[in-house]
C-alpha cells in the first residue's frame, strides 16, 4: 500500500528520476516524512544540484585560508592568532513575500552561520536590488526590507557598516536581499558542524519549533508564478532578542570544553542540521522527536523535521557534559533538550514516542543528492545587447545637468536614508562608516583593521557574464585597496534565474569562469558562498547578479584611508586612463535610457599593478584620500570625493585631457583600473615616481580648492570649462534624493 502518489512527488518538487534514486537508496518506498526530508535536502537550495559541478572550479585555497567552502562559513587568518569568519547569504524569495520578516530572518540566518563557527559577529553588510522607486510596490519593498534589516541587526548589537543598493526594473518582481556577515574568532577555536564520537548526546537549543516556513527550502528553489500567493503561510517571523540570547549562550558554551560540533538550523531545519553533522563525521544520529520543544502541541514528525522556525541550533556535546550545556542554555532563558545520540551506523534514525518514523543513510541525504550538468548555450539575444554604435548617440551638451541627474539617480544617490536606520557604530570598532569605498572596523587588542565591501555591477554581468564577473572582482578589490587594505578573501552570493534554461545556465557558467580567472589573478581565495537560482517571475529573469563580499586586511589601522578630500590646496591625482567605455554605463542608462554595449575593458595586469601601487602609497603615508571610479565615471567620483566627507564640503578645480575621446566618455565613461587620489604637495613627486616605476598611468589633474566643482577638458587647442557647480548643490541633489523620492510619493 503505497502512500506516495505521483502528485505528492510533484508537490515535493522531486522528479521521477530523483524519486527512483530515493527508492534505490532506501531499498523501499519512503514514507511521507522521509519524502519530505529528501525533498528539502535535495532542493536546489540545499543540494546545489545545478551548481556544484561548476562551483568546484573556483579557487578556494591560499596561505591564509583556515576554512574554505563546505562549512557554515569560511575563515581566513589575519595573524595574532585570530581569523575572520565570513559569509554572504540571500533571502530573496521570503523578502518579496514579506519584506520586513524576510529580510530580518535573512540577517538572523547569516549571523547564525557565523557564530556557529565560534566567531563573534562584528559587522554586517547588505546588498539590495529593487525595481525603480517610481512604483508604490517597490517603495514598499525597500522600506520593509531596510527596516527588517535594521530591526534584526540593531537588536543583535552587530553594526551594519556598509552595503549597496541598485535600482533596476528587472528586479521589480524579484528583488534581491543578500546579507554579508563577518565575525572574529581565535584561529585554534573554530567550531565545525560535525557529529563525532559515537554515543555523544545531541542537544537542541534555542526557540521552540512551530509550523513556520515548512517547505521554505523548496520554495526558494521554485520560480514565482501567479499561484505563489498560496505559498504564503510559509513566512517565518524572526525574534532577534531570542537570537541575541542564542549568540551569547553559544559563545559561552564554546568557551568551555563542552562541544564536539555545532550547527544552526537554517533551511530544512532539524533535517539538514542533523544529517549534515552526521555525514561530515561519517556517523549516524538517532533523534527522538518526543523531546523536541514545540510551540504547538499536535505537530507531526513531518512538520517537526521540516519546520524552519528561526533561532534554533543543534549541538553535539562531549558525553558527560550534558548538564553543563543545559545549565548555560537555561541561564540565557533558552529552550533546551537532549534529543538524540550519535550512532556508528551512518543512519539518521528519527523516532517519535518509541516508533521509528524515518530511517535514512545520513550521507545519502546530505551529500549524495542529484547533481546535474545542465546544458548551456550562448543565447541568441546576446548579440543584440552588446551591439552599440556610439556614433549614433550625441555627445554630452550640458555636462552640469548630466552630472546633477546622475548624482540624483537612485543608484548613485547617497544611501544615507538607509544606513542611518542601521546601527553602524555599536561595538565601537567602526573606523570608516558607510559612505566610503569600503567599511573599516578595527580589531581590538591589535593594531589591525579589517575592510569590507560588497559589489556587483549586474548590468555588466547581463551584457557579458564573464567580463561582468571579472569586473565585479576587480571593483571589490579596488574598493578595499582604496581604504588601505590588502584583499584576503571573498564570499559570494550568486543570484540567477532558472538553471533549467540553457541561457541562464550559460550566464552561470561564464560567471564562474570570470570569477575564477579574476580571483586567481588577484590571488584572492573564495572561502564561502551561496547560490540563489529561480529568481524569475512569469518567465522574466533577473540580470545575472553574482554579488561579491570581499574582505581586506589593514596591518596598521592608522593608515586607513577614506574617499573624501581632506584639505584645501591638496593635489588631485588620477591613476589610470580613460578609454571610450560607454557600454553598460550608468550614464547611458540615466541619460539615454539604454542598457547596451560591451562592458568596460579590463586588463587584469593593469588592475593588479594599480592595486599594488595604491597600497604602497597609502602604507607609506603619502595619500590623503583615495576613491575608485565606478558608476558614473570620473566626474561622479570627483563629486563624491568633494562632498562625501563627514564634516564639510570641499571644492575642486580639475583639468582633464580630452585626447581623441568623446567628452561624455572622459566625464562619465566607466573605464576601469582608475583611482582618484588627493595628496599633500610634498608627496607629489614621490607619487608620480612610484606610479611611473610600475607602469601605472598617473597625472596631477587639479587641486582641492574653493567650494565649487570645476572640470575643464583640454582638447587640441585650449581647455574648455564643462562643469562648474557649487558643491553644496551637488550635495543637496545627491544626499537627499532617496528621501525626497520616498516622501513625495
Amino acid at each position: 500500500m503505497s502512500v506516495i502518489t505521483n502528485d505528492l512527488i510533484a508537490q515535493h518538487n522531486l522528479t521521477g528520476d530523483e524519486y527512483k534514486h530515493i527508492i534505490e537508496i532506501l531499498g523501499r518506498e519512503p514514507n511521507l516524512t522521509e519524502l519530505g526530508m529528501f525533498s528539502v535536502m535535495w532542493s536546489e537550495h540545499c543540494s546545489y544540484k545545478s551548481s556544484r559541478v561548476h562551483l568546484k572550479k573556483l579557487p578556494t585555497t591560499g596561505p591564509r585560508v583556515v576554512q574554505g567552502p563546505g562549512e557554515n562559513a569560511g575563515a581566513v587568518d589575519i595573524g595574532d592568532g585570530l581569523c575572520v569568519v565570513f559569509k554572504m547569504e540571500s533571502h530573496n524569495h521570503p523578502s518579496f513575500i514579506e519584506p520586513y520578516q524576510g529580510a530580518a530572518t535573512g540577517v538572523g540566518g547569516i549571523l547564525r552561520d557565523v557564530f556557529t563557527m565560534g566567531a563573534r559577529p562584528i559587522a554586517l553588510l547588505d546588498s539590495l536590488r529593487f525595481g525603480g522607486l517610481d512604483t508604490a510596490k517597490n517603495r514598499h519593498l525597500m522600506k520593509g526590507v531596510v527596516s527588517g534589516i535594521a530591526g534584526y541587526g540593531n537588536c543583535m548589537g552587530v553594526p551594519t557598516v556598509g552595503g549597496e543598493i541598485v535600482f533596476n526594473d528587472i528586479y521589480s518582481l524579484n528583488p534581491l536581499v543578500n546579507v554579508f556577515c563577518l565575525g572574529i574568532a581565535h584561529k585554534d577555536k573554530i567550531f565545525r558542524g560535525t557529529a563525532a564520537g559515537v554515543g555523544n548526546p545531541v542537544i537542541y537549543f534555542g526557540s521552540k519549533t512551530g509550523r513556520d516556513g515548512i517547505h521554505g527550502a523548496t520554495m526558494a528553489s521554485d520560480s514565482f508564478d501567479d499561484k505563489s500567493e498560496q505559498k504564503r503561510p510559509t513566512v517565518q517571523v524572526g525574534d532577534p532578542f531570542q537570537e541575541k540570547l542564542l549568540l551569547e549562550a553559544c559563545l559561552e558554551l564554546m568557551a568551555g570544553d563542552l562541544l564536539v560540533g555545532i550547527q544552526d538550523m537554517g533551511a530544512a531545519g532539524l533535517t539538514s542540521s542533523s544529517c549534515e553533522m552526521a555525514s561530515r563525521a561519517g556517523n549516524g544520529i538517532e533523534l527522538d522527536l518526543t523531546h523536541v520543544p514545540r510551540r504547538e502541541p499536535s505537530m507531526t514528525p513531518y512538520e517537526l523535521m521540516l519546520s524552519e522556525s528561526q533561532e534554533r541550533m543543534l549541538m553535539v556535546a562531549k558525553a558527560g557534559k550534558e548538564d553543563e550545556c543545559l545549565a548555560i542554555c537555561r541561564k540565557w532563558d533558552l529552550d533546551v533538550a537532549v534529543v538524540g545520540r550519535v550512532t556508528g551506523d551512518g543512519i539518521l534514525r528519527v523516532k517519535d514516542h518509541g516508533t521509528v518514523v524515518a530511517e535514512i543513510p545520513a550521507k545519502a541525504l546530505a551529500d549524495d543528492g542529484p547533481r546535474y550538468e545542465r546544458s548551456y548555450t550562448l543565447p541568441p539575444y546576446q548579440d543584440i545587447l552588446t551591439n552599440l554604435n556610439c556614433d549614433l548617440i550625441p555627445d554630452v551638451k550640458d555636462a552640469n545637468a548630466v552630472l546633477l541627474s546622475l548624482l540624483e539617480s537612485s543608484t548613485i544617490a547617497s544611501k544615507r536614508w538607509v544606513y542611518h536606520q542601521y546601527d553602524h557604530m555599536v561595538r565601537t570598532n567602526t573606523m570608516v562608516r558607510p559612505g566610503s569605498d569600503a567599511a573599516v572596523v578595527r580589531i581590538k587588542g591589535t593594531n589591525k583593521a579589517v575592510a569590507m565591501t560588497v559589489d556587483c555591477n549586474s548590468r555588466y554581468c547581463m551584457l557579458h557574464p564573464y567580463e561582468g564577473a571579472r569586473l565585479a572582482v576587480a571593483e571589490a578589490a579596488r574598493n578595499l585597496v582604496c581604504s588601505g587594505a590588502e584583499p584576503i578573501g571573498l564570499t559570494d552570493c550568486l543570484n540567477f534565474g532558472n538553471p533549467e534554461r540553457s541561457d541562464i545556465m550559460w550566464q552561470f557558467v561564464l560567471t564562474i569562469e570570470g570569477m575564477k580567472d579574476a580571483c586567481e589573478h588577484l590571488r584572492v581565495p573564495i572561502v564561502s558562498g551561496n547560490v540563489s537560482f529561480y529568481n524569475e517571475t512569469n518567465g522574466l529573469s533577473i540580470y545575472p547578479t553574482p554579488m561579491l563580499g570581499m574582505v581586506g586586511l589593514i596591518e596598521q589601522a592608522d593608515r586607513t584611508t577614506t574617499q573624501w578630500f581632506k584639505a584645501e590646496g591638496d593635489d588631485i591625482i588620477l591613476l589610470g586612463t580613460a578609454r571610450e567605455d560607454l557600454g553598460g554605463s550608468e550614464y547611458l542608462k540615466v541619460v539615454q535610457a539604454r542598457e547596451q554595449g560591451s562592458p568596460p575593458f579590463l586588463n587584469m595586469n593593469a588592475e593588479k599593478a594599480l592595486h599594488d601601487c595604491v597600497l604602497a602609497m597609502i602604507r607609506a603615508g603619502m595619500v590623503q584620500s583615495a576613491h575608485d571610479c565606478s558608476d558614473g565615471g570620473l566626474a561622479v567620483a570627483l563629486a563624491e570625493s568633494a562632498m562625501s566627507g563627514p564634516d564639510r564640503l570641499l571644492g575642486a578645480v580639475v583639468t582633464l585631457a580630452l585626447g581623441r575621446l568623446r567628452k561624455d566618455a572622459v566625464l562619465f565613461g566607466e573605464s576601469q583600473s582608475r583611482v582618484v587620489l588627493s595628496a599633500k604637495l610634498v608627496h607629489r613627486q614621490a607619487i608620480l615616481d612610484s606610479a611611473r616605476r610600475v607602469g601605472v598611468p598617473v597625472a596631477v589633474i587639479g587641486s582641492v580648492t574653493g567650494n565649487r566643482l570645476v572640470i575643464s577638458l583640454e582638447g587640441e587647442q585650449s581647455a574648455v570649462k564643462v562643469i562648474d557647480v557649487p558643491v553644496a548643490m551637488l550635495y543637496d541633489r545627491w544626499a537627499f534624493s532617496i528621501e525626497r523620492t520616498l516622501h513625495q510619493a
Binding site: 537588536c155 543583535m156 548589537g157 532578542f241 541575541k244 565601537t428 573606523m431 581590538k444 592608522d558
Partner: protein, 238 residues
Amino acid sequence: MNIGVVVFPGSNCDHDCQYIFRDVLGQDVTMVWHKEASLTRLDAVILPGGFSYGDYLRTGAIARFSPVMGAVKKYAADGGLVLGICNGFQILLEAGLLPGAMLRNQSLHFICNDVHVRVENAATPFTSACKPSQVLKIPIAHADGNYYTDPVTLAGLQANAQIVLRYCTPDGKVTSGGNPNGSLDNIAGVCNAAGNVLGLMPHPERCAESVLGNDDGRLILASLVEGMKKAKPQTVGE
C-alpha cells in the same frame, strides 16, 4: 575605582562600556548579571545601551523588573552614581528613577547618526570636565528617544537644572533643526534632583577614542571617573 556594568538579556553596549572604562580609561570594571540582587563595592553603576528584552512592549519596560534593579534603586537612593545610556536611560525612566517617558522618534525610524548636544549643567558628576554650554558631537542610535513629560515636571526639571544635555545645532543653538527625534524641549539627558543619576540618549562610549575619529564623549566618561573619586564607595545588599 570599580565600575559596575549591568548586563540585561538583550544589552548590547555592555562590552563597549566595559572596554572603554577598563581598556581605555584604566578603571576596574565588574560585569553585573541582571539576576544579581546586590551591588558590592562599586563606585558607579552603568546601565548600558541595547535592546533589553528585545525592547518588546516598551523600551525598558521589562528590564526594570530584573532583580538587580531593586539594588540599583537603593544604590541611587544612597547617593551612588548611576549612568544610564540609551536603553539604560529608558530603563531608568520606566523604573521611576528619572521622570518622564520615551515616545517613538518623530520620524518613526531608528536613527544612527552623530548629533550635537549642549552641556546645560556642567556642575554634575557626569559633566564636570565640560565647560558650561560646551557643544559636544556624540552619536545617537535609537528608535525611541522622543522624551516626554508633563508640563509641571518639565518646569521642575528646568528650574532645578536637571536638564543636563540638550540637542542643538553644530554651533550650539537649541532649535527644532538640531532636534533629531522630536524630544520635548530638545532634552537629550536629564538627572534626578540629587544629581547622582543621569540618563542620556547619546552614546559617549562610542566617541571616546581618537582612532574612531571623535573623542568628545570622553569628557563625560572622564567626568564620571573624577566624580567617583569624590563620592564614597557604595555597597548595597538586599
